[in-house]
Amino acid sequence: MKSGADAPLFLVALGILISHFFPNFGSMSTRKKRLAAKGDRLNWTPLKDVMPVKVSAVQIKGRIVKISKTALQPTLIVP
């Protein structure tokens, strides 16, 4: 059985032992690493910087979409 004088020495030894086997023990926490938000990752525009976009009929060019017959499913909503 340890005496009262040996107790601090025992705690120091225990600390050394723990830090030897678990080097990150002191800095361990339950906080999850926060992922970057989608807007940051994809370099989107901050809401305050969004400017009105003037679009004239001339600028927009329509492109005909070719519907491949294999892509169409038997359960078409409209033929």
């Binding site: 989107w44 009105p52 003037k54 679009v55 927009i60 519907i67 892509a71 499913q73 409209v78």
Partner: protein, 184 residues
């Protein structure tokens, strides 16, 4: 990826007149509920001159939000929700046999970063055009896409002998009515 979702039952609510003198004449309002997300969604089919409906939808809980078309719900069930929206086309086509349809993919707002995606070829547009190309055939409609503004048109082949002229007229009408078409 295939979109073999059954969708939900669409309930017609009312016909709302629009008397602001614009090209937008009236709106058919529908609603449906997703048991997966637990939310009710509102679908607006806005009839414009040139015999064309603009299809819009939003989650009812966001009805008062300025950004109701741009918010992400992120509770799943997108397939069923989008197919339900597409199911509005046949009854409208029955009532207006010569009508065309159009939609725009709204720009998504990321609430975490407070940022907004581009209006060019955005993520909603990429999903919508894929569904439409799979579920709407090309016998009734000519399909046209506008990635510059994330827009899509279904031009009714019976509406005009000249599809090109009809498309130009609809495009002109939309761009003059909605000067800031790809805005939030």
């Amino acid at each position: 990826m295939t979109f073999d979702f059954p969708g939900y039952e669409l309930h017609f609510i009312q016909r709302e007149s629009c008397g602001d003198g614009s090209e937008h004449l009236f709106t058919y309002i529908y609603k449906f509920r997703s048991p997966v997300t637990g939310y009710t969604y509102v679908l607006r089919a806005e009839y414009h001159t040139e015999d064309v409906f603009a299809i819009k939808f939003y989650c009812k809980k966001d009805k008062s939000s300025e950004y109701k078309y741009s918010k992400i719900i992120n509770k799943g069930d997108a397939g069923n929700i989008l197919i339900t929206c597409a199911k509005a086309i046949p009854p409208l086509l029955k009532e207006f046999p010569l009508v065309s349809f159009g939609f725009i993919g709204s720009r998504t707002i990321d609430r975490v970063s407070g940022k907004v995606e581009s209006y060019v070829n955005n993520q909603r547009f990429r999903v919508y055009k894929r569904i439409v190309a799979q579920k709407i055939g090309d016998i009734t409609f000519e399909h046209l896409e506008y990635p510059e503004v994330s827009g899509y048109l279904l031009i009714n082949r019976s509406s005009s002998g000249n599809i090109i002229a009809k498309e130009a007229a609809i495009r002109k009408m939309f761009t003059s009515s909605y000067a800031n078409l790809p805005d939030l």
